[in-house]
Amino acid sequence: MSLRIVRPGLLTTVQDRGRFGLQHLGVVPCGAMDAVALELANGLVGNPGDAAVLEITLLGPEIAFECDALVALCGAEFGATHAGRALPLNRPVLMEKNSNLKTGRATLGSRAYLAVAGGIALPPVLGSRSTYLPASFGGLQGRALRAGDRLPLIDNVSALSLKRYQSLSSQKEAAGLRSVAWSAPALTLPEREPIVIHAMEGRHHAHFDAAARRAFFDATWRVMPDSNRMGFRMAGPALAREQAVEILSEPACLGTVQVPANGLPIALMADHQTTGGYPKIAEIAAADVPRLAQLAPGGTVQFARCTLEQAGELRRVLRQRMDAALRSLAWAYRK
């Protein structure tokens, strides 16, 4: 019961929901950059929410299946194929033993999530299987996957996974892969750029000068190539502060937008530091962080001002759409 990495791609890591409860010891939360795609992928194969999946970045891997497996690939489009046929996204698919899943370059979005029924069976480190690259722990030996790596799978799958697996394996193999004639909507991909990301004024918003306060919400920002899982660096007009008061290191959050001395904002992403001393100009709405995570380097974004209440409403709407997607899959199986 395992997967084998034939070709690792640019940056393929094991991730789950994240490592929580230890931020007071500086332990970075990590986890999937696009938490929505992660949850859909796990939900589609009947996994519990905390199952570990593969996060695939910009240039995808080739993966050999050493056993039959129920999988779902969600998030960015990588032109995935299986036995020469396009692999349908956002739905459960049955992969056969000794077959390969091949992915290419990301054509829409930048990160995809491959969930396998049961999840990846690596030992959790400090409560999570997420890979934390800077300190080399979690995932597989704390590093990105390489050719030849073997990833064991949890064979004690959920009853729901088993039911879906059996339902697909009893299907006669028709023209396509064994799957259901239904797919979940992609909720986080950048259909049109610049994408619009909602953000609230941050704690130090008033420290910036009037031009900077306006520019943050007016400018089109470009994700710089040195962006990573820790933060997205944005190119655009440099944001100046009214007076440069030194700020004491204080807690930072997923989606905090901080501005270092060069005036170019950094949006803190999944591997964000737990505390930081740069002024915070904005906080991105929780519902929009996964959409920002799907922007590739060079991608463009505009920030739209919102209130705490509006951000909460975005989150409720997103939650409803995800729940509706997973409910309608259950219907697809009953048919």
């Binding site: 931020q23 007071h24 332990v27 807690p251 997923l254 737990t274």
Partner: protein, 224 residues
């Protein structure tokens, strides 16, 4: 003073770092954790503020959040016991040889304190962990001798070696990992600051007392 903190957390902050405030924040953190609210993911006491991170999709998340959070903080603050430190004292061996203490000459020049005297003052004081943050296990330690207070370096170093003991303003930091940094390096410890396979993983926790003691290079190599 309460301030909102994005949508997935609340934060409260006071004006500056002082031991009194820092201690009451740590007591507050303990009181919040004691409630074991299922939607709270992390309680992070910092130098002069505290953050509560929560799961924005948790079914039991109270709505609206803001007034609830405010009263939660106030209540926890009232019920928080007087600060008691962790009761632990962490003894940290440091080799202050110039080969490790890369910025000792500069610190000496800036403060007009001779290098041996810097070592004496750094090891003579009892210190207190005010916060652990930035990267796993990295302590911000208060209680630096006032004479040794130096601002951050104008140009940060691209690489601070792991184990570096560095000072800035009124604090000492010990770097668990090789990272960029703007603090002045005065020595290096052979101890592993953070090890996920060890229990506890972090050598330092907020509220720990810290004593630095000088070791020669030979001892450093032995302990390494």
């Amino acid at each position: 003073m309460y301030a909102e903190f994005g949508e997935t957390g609340g934060t409260a902050a006071s004006g500056g770092v002082d031991l009194e405030t820092n201690r009451s924040l740590q007591a507050l953190a303990a009181a919040l954790r004691a409630r074991a609210l299922p939607w709270i993911r992390d309680v992070v006491p910092a130098l002069c503020g505290i953050a509560v991170h929560f799961d924005p999709y948790h079914a039991e998340l109270p709505a609206p959040m803001l007034p609830y959070f405010e009263s939660l903080l106030q209540e926890a603050f009232k019920s928080a016991s007087k600060f008691e430190d962790t009761g632990r004292t962490v003894d940290v061996p440091v080799c202050y040889d110039q080969v490790f203490g890369l910025d000792l000459p500069e610190v000496s020049k800036r403060t007009s304190v001779a290098v041996p005297e810097i070592v004496k003052r750094h090891t003579g004081n009892q210190h207190l962990v005010l916060m652990v943050g930035f990267s796993p296990g990295q302590p911000y330690i208060g209680g630096l001798d006032a004479r040794l207070s130096v601002p951050r370096r104008a140009t940060p170093r691209i690489l601070m070696p792991a184990g570096s003991v560095a000072i800035a303003n009124a604090q000492t930091a010990v770097y668990p990992y090789e990272t960029p940094g703007g603090w002045s390096i005065i020595g290096r410890t052979p101890l592993r600051v953070f090890d996920p396979a060890r229990d506890p993983a972090s050598l330092f926790a907020p509220g720990d007392r810290v004593r630095f003691f000088a070791i020669p290079r030979t001892e450093f190599e032995k302990l390494k």
